[in-house]
């Protein structure tokens, strides 16, 4: 009964470019236990983002198997995958990906547009998530009225709000200066200590060292576990 949160085996993915096939992932194996904080490193173009999208149920591998807490994800339909994203996965992006027309509160509330939840409870959870990332004083601000660090905090609050099984972060500090980057890492570590499962992509050794465990991706393979 004690399944790992994530168990992906023999993941292969290639893209068709014109007449040639471009292999990106060649049999990636990755297992993440509950409460782990894992960093994925690797050179640019090594397929880190592609892997993260597969783990986040945004994309499907060509072959391989993928289970979240023992549930076979690859047999799910498109709308079932949407449901998994809405309830179990929190994404944090390098470029924040907040909607510019909405303020912080509304941005953080966004995932609840796609999962059934009672209105009052939704508001409480949104406020809690915003408080957790320390943005309560900016709750009515639009993205254009926030600093880079604040934007990423808002994005993390949005990922947290659904209390996901996994938080997936694709270079969350890539657009931030090093000081702000460290602040964000401290926030991740806080979440990790509170029991969150986090998979984070990074280029930067210093950043990746905040994680419990570092996985290297090279030429579509994991080279050390």
């Amino acid at each position: 009964m004690n399944f790992p949160v994530i168990e992906a085996l023999h993941i292969e993915k290639s893209y068709l470019m014109g007449y040639s096939i471009l292999p990106v992932l060649n049999g990636v194996e990755i297992r993440v236990e509950r409460g782990e904080f894992v960093a994925i490193m690797g050179p640019s173009g090594s397929g880190k983002s592609t892997l993260l999208h597969i783990l986040g149920c945004l994309d499907r591998p060509d072959t391989g198997s993928y289970h979240i807490e023992g549930h076979n994800v690859l047999s799910a339909t498109d709308s079932e995958l949407s449901k998994i994203r809405a309830t179990q996965i929190g994404f944090v992006f390098q470029s924040f990906n907040l909607l510019s027309a909405l303020n912080v509160f509304e941005n953080v509330r966004l995932p609840f547009s796609y999962s059934r939840i009672e209105k009052g409870e939704a508001r409480d959870r949104v406020e809690n998530a915003i408080a957790k990332v320390g943005l309560t004083h900016r709750i009515k601000h639009r993205p254009a009225e926030l600093s880079g660090g604040e934007l990423q905090r808002a994005a993390i609050a949005r990922a947290l709000v659904i209390e996901p099984k996994i938080i997936l972060a694709d270079e969350p500090t890539g657009n931030l200066d090093s000081k702000t980057g460290i602040e964000i890492m401290n926030l991740f570590q806080k979440l990790h200590h509170e029991g969150a499962t986090i998979i984070m992509i990074s280029h930067n050794h210093q950043i990746a060292n905040h994680a419990q465990r570092v996985i290297e991706l090279m030429d579509g393979r994991i080279i050390n576990k």
Binding site: K83, A86, F93, A101, L110, S113, Y114
Partner: protein, 415 residues
Amino acid sequence: MIAEIVEAIKIASRSLMQHKLRSGLSVLGVVCGVMAVLAMIAVGEGTKEKTLKQIGELGIRNIFVKAVSLSDEQVQIARELLSEGLRFYDRERILSVVPDVEDIACLKEVRAAVISAVNIEFSPQIIACSANYASIQRLHISEGRFLNNQDIEGNQLVCAIGGDVAHKLGINGQIGKFLRIENELFKIVGILDRFYRDQEAITTMAIRNVNEMVLIPLGAENLLTKREEVQNIQSLTELIVLIKSAEKVFRAGEVIKRTLDLSHNGVKDYQIIIPLELLRQAQRTQRIFNLVLGAIATISLLVGGIGIMNIMLASVSERTKEIGIRRALGATRMDIILQFLAEAFMMTLMGGCIGIITGIANAFIISKVAGWKTSVTFPAIFLPLVMSVCVGLFFGLYPAVKAAKMDPIKALRTE
């Protein structure tokens, strides 16, 4: 599903509020389409109501046989063919030959003048009629009684007068007073209800204006006409044949025509008017009008719809990134479809509502300026509204599906 739709409407209304001017401009086509459709239906319904009312007043179970005045030349031919025009004898023929006849009223226009102390220019039409004229033409008596069979058999000098006539005569126009026609005094026994027919109906449909009539018993007119005209004693101006039921009117009309053709030896000194036939004609015309209207409506709403589709396509490509983000946060394809469909739907609904308001104003202006009767009925409002909403859903569907089909990763990667 309901919750999803509500959510989609919330998201869509937000995005519309963000681009007020753009949304407003893009529904302009729908507004114009709805406005035009509504105004045209209102005008169409107005004319329809009017013609139906006019024809209805003639009575759909009636068949009118009217004497036609002939030119001198035609009179000569008629004499040779031994036709004597419309006569009392025709009534007897129709009664005995034509099936399903319930009753026949006879009318004769009398060329005589009312001599009145009040007003020299006062010249009501004098009609000699049978007693059943009132019931067949559904005339209402406001005071006294209508002419009856005793009046006719006894050659009584009595009359029933129209509402306007009574009004103009003043105190001399009351029951029991005498009305002088030529050299005879007629006792007023009844006054007809004054009822308003529009002047147009009277001229275009040749409906008699009972308000301005003096009705005397058939036969009494002989006292008023000069000796040399007495040979026409049997002639009539009009027969109104009441048929037992509306379904039998056309067949009866055929038989009447054949009967009269035979007895008049083919001389066309009479004319048969069947109100039901006029009604059918009016309905046919109406159907053609509706068809043209429908075509114009379709075209204008099509143009409006293309405008909506255009703006929705622009909106989808502009918001590719947003679609990617929403998909990553758990929106299903259906959620995305609903979001954009709701946007198109609300735009056209809004356009429809604005169009209805301006359309009603338009219909009102048309009736004031052009003097046409317009009638803003339920279908005049409902039909264009439904059509505009359908246009919104139809033309919004393609952009919405396009948005939903996007690969979320590609959408996320766009800048």
